[in-house]
């Protein structure tokens, strides 16, 4: 009997950069990202990682889900949706924010771009349209899924500015962190913002899909002398942990997609309480609950950074108050060895009392050693989750 697989049509989407990425893909380390082919690694994760911290790394961010938000009351709407205070964000700026359900549980966090008074683009990792439209009730606003209208490359690393300078981007030297620049180059429209997921100096460059290959080719042409190289998601993963950025489905479940309600988390619990502005004008979704959580200290735990002795990475490991492991405190979500800091780092969900930097805890790590799995109980200490924060990031 035949299996139906022979009848299936290929459906994974290729981003406009695909031909260039595929040509460099020697081991076929593809992974999926919102239904697209996306590189996990090209050849050496280690060298890709060091491109981020030493050169100029290129990562295709086209698969991000994007929603255009426009209309007479778009600003009011966005301010109602998110936890941050929009009045502090000027046009042509991007900003990182959380958005919550009304009981204060995080739906997702991500970057919103503000182009004009009432003109926004929201980037997310998960489908949000159903939620965005529910919140839009009563606002004169138009929300449109616009994922395929633009494609983009994230150019990150200490040399990224040099690459853009060589590319001929006027004004790149003056673009502040989170600033947005729109310009024309060789007759093509470009949008550049200074943000990223690496905690380093870096930019994102957006073009129309037709100009994708032009952008790729030009960047690599002018970047060759500035240590430009493509990277995959594995190298990026280490950089984002060093930078302290949380990732949906790894560090938390989005409130809309969590099966068990108790698995949902608030921005405070995720250590991104700084994005919550309880004093901003008017109500926003989740304000009442978040205010109560903050005032009454209702957070169940907080996702803090930890630094662990030894070098064995500790994903999904339990933390204890004592070496014997009698009192369990929580669990790590993300973890890696940091090649730049030479530290063994992780994010851990622990009671707030233990999140104060320097607090000692114990962690139980299971690791492979040849054909065996071994266990060790080692000391760790709470630390600022932003493990790596070079001055060049905002300089």
């Amino acid at each position: 009997m035949t299996a139906y697989v022979e009848h299936l049509t290929p459906f994974l989407r290729k981003t406009p950069f695909h031909p260039r990425i595929e040509a460099l893909m020697h081991g076929s380390h593809w992974m999926r990202w919102t239904g697209h082919y996306s590189p996990a690694a090209f050849e050496s994760v280690q060298s890709e990682y060091f491109t981020i911290r030493n050169g100029a790394s290129v990562y295709d961010v086209s698969p991000l889900i994007k929603y255009r938000i426009r209309g007479r009351q778009a600003a009011d709407y966005v301010n109602h949706l998110i936890t941050r205070d929009l009045s502090k964000i000027k046009p042509m700026h991007a900003f990182y924010t959380a958005w919550c359900q009304d009981d204060g549980m995080l739906v997702e966090e991500g970057t919103i771009f503000r182009f004009g008074e009432n003109d926004f683009l929201l980037n997310s990792a998960k489908d949000q349209l159903h939620w965005l439209e529910q919140v839009a009730y009563g606002f004169e606003v138009e929300i449109q899924e616009a994922s395929n209208e633009l494609c983009g490359l994230s150019l990150q690393g200490p040399q990224s500015r040099d690459v853009l300078r060589a590319f001929g981007i006027n004004g790149i030297d003056h673009l502040p962190r989170f600033g947005i620049l729109e310009l024309e180059l060789q007759g093509r429209w470009l949008r550049i913002d200074r943000a990223g997921f690496t905690g380093d100096l870096g930019y994102e460059i957006w073009v129309k899909p037709d100009d994708a290959l032009w952008l790729w080719d030009r960047l690599f042409e002018v970047g060759r002398d500035h240590k430009i190289a493509p990277i995959g998601a594995q190298a990026l993963e280490t950089a984002r942990i060093e930078a302290g950025f949380i990732l949906i489905d790894v560090d938390y479940s989005g409130a809309l997609h969590a099966l068990r309600p108790s698995n949902r988390m608030s921005p405070y619990e995720l250590g991104i309480g700084w994005t919550v502005n309880l004093n901003k004008e008017g109500y926003f979704v989740g304000k009442r609950a978040l205010k109560r959580e903050k005032e009454q200290g209702l957070s169940r735990y907080v996702l803090t950074g930890i630094e662990i002795e030894g070098r064995k990475p500790a994903p999904g490991s339990f933390l204890y108050a004592d070496r014997k492991g009698r009192r369990e405190l929580g669990l790590t979500t993300s973890a890696c060895w940091s090649p730049t800091l030479k530290k063994n780092i992780a994010f851990a969900r622990v009671p707030s009392a233990y999140a104060k930097p320097g607090t000692e805890m114990w962690i139980e790590i299971w690791y492979h050693k040849e054909h065996k799995i071994e266990r060790s109980m080692v000391r760790c200490r709470a630390a600022n989750r932003m493990f790596y924060d070079p001055p060049r990031k905002s300089a």
């Binding site: 139906y4 009848h7 299936l8 239904g35 489908d127 159903h130 439209e133 899924e145 969590a258 068990r260």
Partner: protein, 552 residues
């Protein structure tokens, strides 16, 4: 006259067999105090609505039920069914053809499904995950209640004699507390959602998430199968859940084919039962349950033979059991309400079945070839289904019926010659009796033609592949399998007939009105489907009674 059985089970449906096997094993994996159990089946073979039959040379049909998901893994394990030959192979695809454009199809692969839904509506594709999470949440909650005797909230006072189950009068309270604890964990919002869900119509439920009419029609399919209600009828949302709460290998909601057809399920359970020492007699129709002094003591067969035992268990549906097998006088001596409950029990037949031998694999309009490898639901939007329901409401079969089709032979190499196929077509809605009167051969022919025409419309060229058709009305199903009115679930799955109210108020815990009398079929909690849970739960309750000396 024979004697000496610990339990006599009337009916060798898969639930009767499960109950028998559990009893014979004493509820323990290795039975020590084995009970002597007899199963009496009126047909020439066991299985009830889970049978495989060769109705056309070389082709094995799953004549009634056709796909498997609800059969509890605990039962699989306890009875060691794989060793007795049972294998369930999951399938991945669900689709709805469309003669006027692109059909709807969804897959096991989340991204592929999203991509497919996006072609119809970005909004619907984006809402799909949230919808799936809500359904999963309901399933997780109810799954725990499946292999549990439903506690009865009227019987929770621990200080008075419990009428239904005097020997376990804290059990209802404990059971309710257990459920309440689960419920409490849902959190406020989801508690409200759940309460609403149990009584909603599937149309109202789906409208909260989706906009594409055909997609909603497909999503509604599971909520009307076997149910004499339309998508706009309240209570249909629950039926949807009833079809989603199964699992194959821990994958909730997945359905699969039993290798060799659904008869393999019954065959394996029967083999496990026989191995455990159960005696099975076929061609042994029970005529009456013998009741003396308020105690069920034996059965009288159609043949005149009488068999006595310490306990009597009915696998037949509640209506047949209480109105045909039990004397009204015996019931009235206990409580005249019972007869009334039985008369009013909702067990309308609403489904027919066509089993078709095909010369090749059909292709469905607006869908890729892969669609034939999963469920193909021929229908349309809510209105299509509601219109089909309208025909039924007024005493006719649906002229354009809703059809749930599968072709098990795309996966199963044992049911048809190579290259040929068996197609199972479940037809909704078909009445038990027509407005004009009973079914006639002409009417049945017309009904068959309407079904085949509907398929042809959605799978052009289909008719040319047809080698043989077995056509079944609810009346036929009643006469073959013995289900009253051919109702596939032994009674409608609406809230008024679920949990502790299934089948009747005060009899929701597998015990009947007489001492030593029990029910173990789909007319008890958690209801219909090839699930085995009613049979296993009934045995669990009986074993308690045996242990406590309640059964003498």
């Amino acid at each position: 006259m024979q004697q000496g059985y610990d339990a006599i089970i009337i009916g060798g449906g898969h639930n009767g067999l499960t109950c028998a096997a559990y009893l014979a094993k004493g509820g323990e994996k290795v039975g020590k105090n084995k009970l002597k159990v007899l199963v009496l089946e009126r047909r020439e073979k066991v299985g009830g609505a889970a049978v495989s039959e060769e109705k056309y040379p070389g082709f094995i049909y799953s004549t009634c039920s056709y796909v498997c998901s609800l059969l509890r893994p605990e039962i699989f394990r306890f009875l060691d069914l794989p060793r007795h030959g049972l294998q369930v192979i999951p399938y991945d695809i669900n689709s709805a053809p469309n003669p006027e454009g692109e059909g709807i199809i969804y897959y096991n692969d989340h991204d592929r499904t999203r991509e497919s839904l996006r072609r119809h509506s970005i909004r619907d594709a984006e809402a799909y995950d949230e919808y799936a999470v809500e359904i999963s949440r309901h399933c997780r909650f109810i799954k725990r209640m499946l292999l549990m005797t439903p506690p009865d909230p009227t019987q929770i006072n621990p200080f008075v004699q419990n009428r239904i189950n005097p020997w376990g009068h804290r059990e209802d309270l404990d059971g309710l507390l257990r459920i309440a604890r689960e419920f409490g964990q849902l959190g406020e919002r989801h508690m409200y959602d759940m309460i609403r869900f149990w009584s909603m119509s599937v149309a109202d439920f789906l409208d909260q998430y989706f906009e594409t009419p055909r997609w909603k029609g497909l999503a509604a399919a599971s909520s009307i199968i076997g149910t004499a209600l339309g998508p706009y009828s309240p209570g249909t949302a629950y039926v949807l859940l009833h079809h989603y709460m199964g699992e194959v290998d821990g994958q909730i909601g997945a359905w699969g084919f039993a290798r060799g057809g659904m008869g393999s399920v019954s065959k394996a359970i029967a083999a496990a039962a026989v191995e455990a020492g159960v005696e099975i007699r076929v061609d042994a129709e029970v005529d009456k349950i013998i009741v003396r002094n308020g105690k069920a003591v034996g059965v009288a067969l159609k043949s005149g033979e009488e068999i006595y035992g310490r306990s009597i268990v009915s696998n037949a549906d509640p209506k047949r059991t209480y109105l045909k097998l039990i004397d009204k006088g015996d019931l009235d001596a206990i409580d005249p309400d019972i007869h009334r409950y039985a008369r009013n029990y909702k067990i309308r037949g609403s489904s027919g079945k066509l089993n078709i031998a095909l010369d090749g694999l059909p292709e469905f309009a607006g869908l890729g070839k892969e669609a034939a490898y999963g469920t193909v639901d021929i229908g349309g939007d809510f209105d299509y289904i509601e219109r089909a329901f309208d025909d039924y409401k007024y005493g006719s079969w649906s002229k354009r019926p809703f059809l749930d089709c599968v072709i098990p032979t795309t996966v199963d190499p044992t049911m048809a010659p190579p290259g040929k196929h068996f197609m199972s077509v479940f037809v909704q809605y078909v009445p038990y009796q027509l407005a004009e009167g009973p079914w006639t051969p002409e009417m049945k022919g017309q009904y068959e033609k309407d079904v085949l025409d509907t398929i042809e419309l959605h799978a052009p060229g289909f008719r040319k592949l047809v080698l043989h058709v077995q056509c079944r009305t609810p009346w036929d199903i009643e006469n073959e399998v013995g289900m009253t009115e051919g109702n596939i679930f032994h009674g409608e799955l609406t809230l008024d007939q679920l949990l502790f109210n299934r089948p009747f108020p005060g009899m929701g815990q597998y015990r009947g009105p007489f001492d030593n009398f029990y029910m173990c079929g789909s007319g008890t909690h958690p209801g219909g489907g090839v699930m085995g849970a009613p049979g296993a739960n009934a045995a669990t309750e009986m074993l308690k009674d045996f242990k406590r000396g309640v059964v003498q």
